[in-house]
């Protein structure tokens, strides 16, 4: 939870729409449509923030407790890590 997270540059291509980011995993060609919280998390992954810091940031933005949002963040990061789109430094 404390290691900074970064996007796996070179493994994906992304394009932004009004309220959605579409990410293509370049090895598999699989599309990921990121909306809502998933999009927010993706945009917060910058190579400096850890998972815990992302949770804290989102909790502040959405005026909720960290425990309310931690599960969603963990699930999303697990999916992105499995797809080799996000790595911990």
């Amino acid at each position: 939870m404390s290691a900074p997270l970064r996007k796996a540059e070179g493994r994906f291509s992304e394009t932004a729409f009004e309220d959605e980011v579409v990410v293509m995993q370049l090895d598999s060609g699989e599309f990921f449509s990121l909306t809502g919280t998933a999009r927010d998390i993706w945009l917060l992954i910058d190579g400096r923030r850890s998972a815990a810091e992302i949770v804290a940031t989102l909790a502040a933005v959405f005026a909720c407790t960290e425990s309310e949002i931690a599960g969603d963040v963990a699930d999303f990061l697990a999916q992105m890590t499995e797809a080799q789109l996000v790595v911990a430094e």
């Binding site: 291509s13 394009t15 729409f17 009004e18 309220d19 959605e20 579409v22 293509m24 370049l26 060609g29 599309f31 990921f32 449509s33 909306t35």
Partner: protein, 286 residues
């Protein structure tokens, strides 16, 4: 901005697709092209059919046909106006889409979807409502005008299966040939032969209820990420890797007004679906 670029593209396609007879190599870029396969690079397209037809196109040099065996009447035209035409379009910067289309009020209303989804039947049926056919099966887009997406008029004759003939009332002509179990048909409201801007690209899908909604974002990219050979030609002709394909799709998504039409697929429901689409086309203001 005018249709100048699209007219130039149309003239280019007519020039580049001219067919002459001559020997055609069996390999491109040093790699053999077996019967039933093709190869395309940034300047050339080579196709050998299972029936012994070889087509070779090189930019600015036209198409060479090598016929090594007798083929049924009409087969050369099918290949020439199908795979070869789409490849030439892709090699010259145009975007071929797997779509059929009609025209209304000086704009093109196109219908896309996998084979068998009813694109041609819908376009033919709209002829009963007075909409002339713009293209069947392949729609060529000229994206060089930043102010509009221009469409080049169809180069293929309308082809329908027997069920579609009965549904649409289109007049049957001769049988297409052994490759396709369809007949050529005369569009009821005629055909358009000049470029027009695109009004809408509507993907067809099966569904229990009749409805049309806009699609954007990932859903739009997914629909545009067609696995039809026309899409492959663009990727190969431009030498796109997966990131390049993604960028290409995103570029299309940004400029193509895209919708998804769901409707029950039955002969009984066809008339309702047709009336619905006709109203949608009429209701769209140029």
């Amino acid at each position: 901005m005018s249709a100048v670029s699209a007219l130039a593209a149309l003239a280019l396609m007519r020039r580049e697709t001219e067919l002459r007879v001559g020997p055609v190599a069996r390999a491109l870029d040093g790699r053999s092209v077996e019967p039933g396969h093709y190869r395309i690079n940034r300047d050339e397209f080579l196709l050998w059919t299972d029936t012994g037809l070889g087509f070779h196109y090189r930019r600015s040099c036209g198409v060479t046909l090598d016929q090594t065996a007798p083929v049924p009447a009409g087969e050369i035209e099918l290949w020439h106006h199908g795979s070869v035409y789409a490849a030439i379009a892709a090699l010259n910067g145009l975007v071929p889409l797997h779509a059929s289309a009609v025209a209304h009020n000086g704009q093109v209303h196109a219908f896309a979807g996998p084979s068998g989804m009813g694109k041609s039947t819908l376009a033919a049926g709209l002829g009963r409502n007075g909409f002339p056919l713009f293209c069947d099966d392949t729609l060529l887009l000229d994206l060089s005008d930043p102010d509009a997406v221009w469409c080049l008029p169809g180069h293929k004759r309308l082809k329908l299966c027997s069920d579609a003939l009965a549904l649409t009332g289109a007049a049957a002509q001769e049988h297409v040939g052994v490759m396709i179990d369809k007949v050529y048909a005369q569009p009821l409201a005629g055909v358009i032969d000049s470029p027009l801007p695109l009004a809408a690209l509507t993907f067809l899908a099966d569904g229990p209820n009749l409805g049309l909604r806009p699609v954007t974002g990932g859903e739009q990219l997914s629909l545009l990420n067609d696995d039809h050979y026309t899409a492959d030609y663009v990727v190969l002709a431009r030498g796109l890797d997966r990131a390049g394909r993604m960028a290409h799709l995103a570029g299309l998504a940004a400029v193509l007004p895209t919708g998804l039409l769901t409707r029950p697929r039955s002969n009984a429901a066809f008339a309702d679906g047709l009336a619905f689409v006709a109203a949608q086309v009429r209701g769209r203001q140029p």
